[in-house]
């Protein structure tokens, strides 16, 4: 029957697998930032540190020759930040310069992901479909992870590929390949954990604004707390209380960088994992089907 007759066509199909049902949720979450022009501008602004580094790289392209050996280890100095053969060159725009962009991206998208659906009464629409609350959560997290990864994983990857292509020979590749996989793995892990925390906090709140307040309180509050405790107790590992600092410490470790405030990366890993488990357990309770429908 033709649809233009306002007819109805019986449907014969093989139901898709779970991932095919999760992906549309992730895609909409990822696209949420770019639906309005303001979001796209904010996203580009978040890439400014890396773009700056890329411009610097291009400016040097004509005169720069790669150092004979890479210096993956050692403390991050200003010279290293400007040297494309070091890990610091790729990490500096992210872990040092991108705290505010991270806060902006997570506050505008990740931490609103579930709270906005809850406020709009959309959870009942989702959960009366053939997906579970966890599949829904996974979709939201995946979309949020992809957004952060675009800014904090893909950008340094592009920077690295550019540096390799601009180099006169394979020496840049040979110099950097030793630390780059660890660095990228660390950044991917950091994006995954921080987006998980943000989406988890989003699941706890009843409105997007409340979620944003909770998130800012968690990130900024823990930052001030960690700094105060570090100074009072003279223990550098107190910095790990802040998820951003903890993530940064793990990335440094994987990239082979010794940070200025050195402490065990395991402490940071353990703390951020504990935080993620606690948030997930609380989110699990808030994402029960009954909680969404039986009001």
């Amino acid at each position: 029957m033709a649809i233009f007759d306002r007819g109805y066509r019986d449907l014969i199909y093989q139901p898709t697998r779970v991932f095919a049902r999760i992906w549309p949720i992730a895609r909409h979450e990822l696209a949420a930032m770019f639906r309005i022009r303001f979001g796209s501008i904010v996203f580009l602004a978040c890439l400014l540190p890396t773009i700056g580094q890329l411009i610097f790289l291009l400016m040097r392209a004509g005169i720069w020759e790669a150092a004979p050996s890479g210096r993956a280890g050692g403390r991050m100095s200003f010279g290293d930040r400007m040297d494309p053969s070091t890990a610091s060159f790729y990490l500096w725009p992210i872990t040092t310069m991108s705290f505010v962009p991270f806060l902006v991206l997570t506050t505008l998208v990740s931490v609103r992901a579930i709270a906005k659906d809850r406020a709009a009464g959309a959870l009942e629409i989702y959960w009366t479909r053939a997906i579970s609350p966890w599949s829904y959560f996974l979709g939201k997290w995946y979309g949020s992870f992809l957004l952060l990864a675009c800014a904090f994983f893909a950008a340094p990857l592009v920077l690295w590929i550019t540096s390799v292509l601009l180099a006169p020979d394979w020496s840049q590749f040979e110099t950097t390949i030793g630390f780059m996989p660890g660095l990228l793995l660390g950044l991917a892990w950091m994006c995954a954990m921080l987006s998980l925390l943000a989406v988890g906090v989003s699941a706890l709140a009843s409105t997007p604004n409340l979620a944003a307040i909770l998130w800012l309180f968690l990130i900024m509050g823990s930052m001030f707390l960690s700094e105060i405790l570090r100074r009072l107790l003279r223990e550098t590992w107190m910095l790990a209380i802040n998820p951003w600092f903890a993530g940064k410490r793990v990335v440094d470790q994987l990239a082979g960088i010794t940070p200025f405030n050195d402490y065990s990366a395991w402490t940071a890993l353990a703390w951020i994992s504990t935080l993620a488990v606690v948030v997930l357990l609380l989110a699990r309770r808030r994402l029960r089907v009954l909680e969404a429908v039986a009001t």
Binding site: R6, Y8, T16, A130, I131, L290, V293
Partner: protein, 309 residues
């Protein structure tokens, strides 16, 4: 048979929303009729596997909803009562997303979303954000999301909520078309008698979590005894009632305006009524057979339930 409930009780903490409900619903258009808080929505949610009954057995499309709720939801379309929408999406994206979440591949979902939006009359507005839709358009989008994956069974929870008279008629026509022309089984949950009466052939009456009556509209509205409405000019009402009873009328109930509702057994001759009125000194102004409406059935069942408690 598409749905069967046996002694189903649903409780939210100490509050019992559904109390030992039992009924079997045939295919076609079925109405769940009851006031707000009667337990209609709880039954629909339990059938979708969203709420666990505290006791009893249920079956929907030959599946127990608690065993594989996602398979049940894949085969059932649900239009919730609450005014909810997925923020940031337009009409087309909302319906297409619902299709994909129900298990349709992307290309099928997109094609199907366009078709369904055309079917429900939202083709012109499909690329506008749902947040900017009127209540009637949002109700239609909800219907579209319920229908897009070609379910065997449709649950429509208060589909005419918040609609103006024209929107209500359009929605009911659509629902009637689903059940008739398109051959879908539809369960329409509503507190509006006229809506249910207009669309459904089979009805379950509910009140305070209990099933008061279930059957076809014809069965429910059929009188066990024949009834007449009698209007009389003049005469003595007390003598009239006595004379009517004397001539075989089972029940004669006068109202404040002097009209009398008569209940008689099958085979009763109306000539006896005329004779009784003549005996009382009055003149028959009007005598018509009374047919029970669904409202009479509902109010009667509620009265019986309250008297029995």
């Amino acid at each position: 048979m598409s749905i069967a409930l046996e002694d189903v009780t649903i409780a939210y903490g100490k509050h019992v929303a559904v109390d030992r409900a039992s009924f079997v619903l045939p295919t076609g258009a079925v109405g769940l009729l009851g006031r707000n808080g009667a337990g209609k929505t709880s039954i629909l949610r339990a059938l979708l596997g969203l709420v666990q009954p505290s006791s009893g057995h249920m079956q929907i499309l030959d599946l127990p909803p608690n065993t594989d709720p996602r398979e049940v939801r894949r085969r059932v379309g649900y239009m919730p009562e609450r005014d909810g929408f997925i923020p940031g999406l337009n009409g087309f994206e909302t319906v297409a997303l619902a299709a994909q979440l129900s298990g349709l591949p992307r290309s099928q979902a997109f094609r199907r979303a366009h078709e369904v939006l055309w079917l429900i009359g939202l083709e012109e507005a499909r690329y506008r954000a749902v947040a900017g839709y009127s209540t009637g358009m949002r109700q239609k989008v909800k219907l579209g999301t319920a229908l897009v994956h070609d379910p065997d069974l449709l649950f429509l929870d208060e589909p005419t909520n918040g609609l103006d008279p024209r929107g209500r008629v359009e929605m009911l026509d659509l629902v009637a078309r689903m059940a008739g022309e398109l051959g879908k089984s539809v369960v329409l949950s509503s507190h509006i008698l006229q809506d249910v009466e207009r669309v459904c052939s089979h009805i379950v009456l509910m009140e305070r979590g209990k099933v008061l009556a279930a059957g076809t509209v014809r069965e429910l509205t059929a009188n066990a005894r024949r009834a007449f409405d009698l209007s009389v000019d003049g005469g003595d009402p007390v003598r009239l009632v006595a004379a009517l009873r004397q001539r075989g009328v089972e029940q004669a109930t006068p109202d404040a305006r002097g009209n009398v509702r008569l209940e008689v057994v099958e085979g009763f001759s109306t000539a006896r009524v005329f004779a009784a009125v003549q005996d009382s000194g009055g003149v028959v102004r009007r005598l018509v057979e009374h047919r029970r409406s669904l409202e009479d059935v509902f109010l009667g069942a509620v009265r019986d339930e309250e008297a029995g408690r």
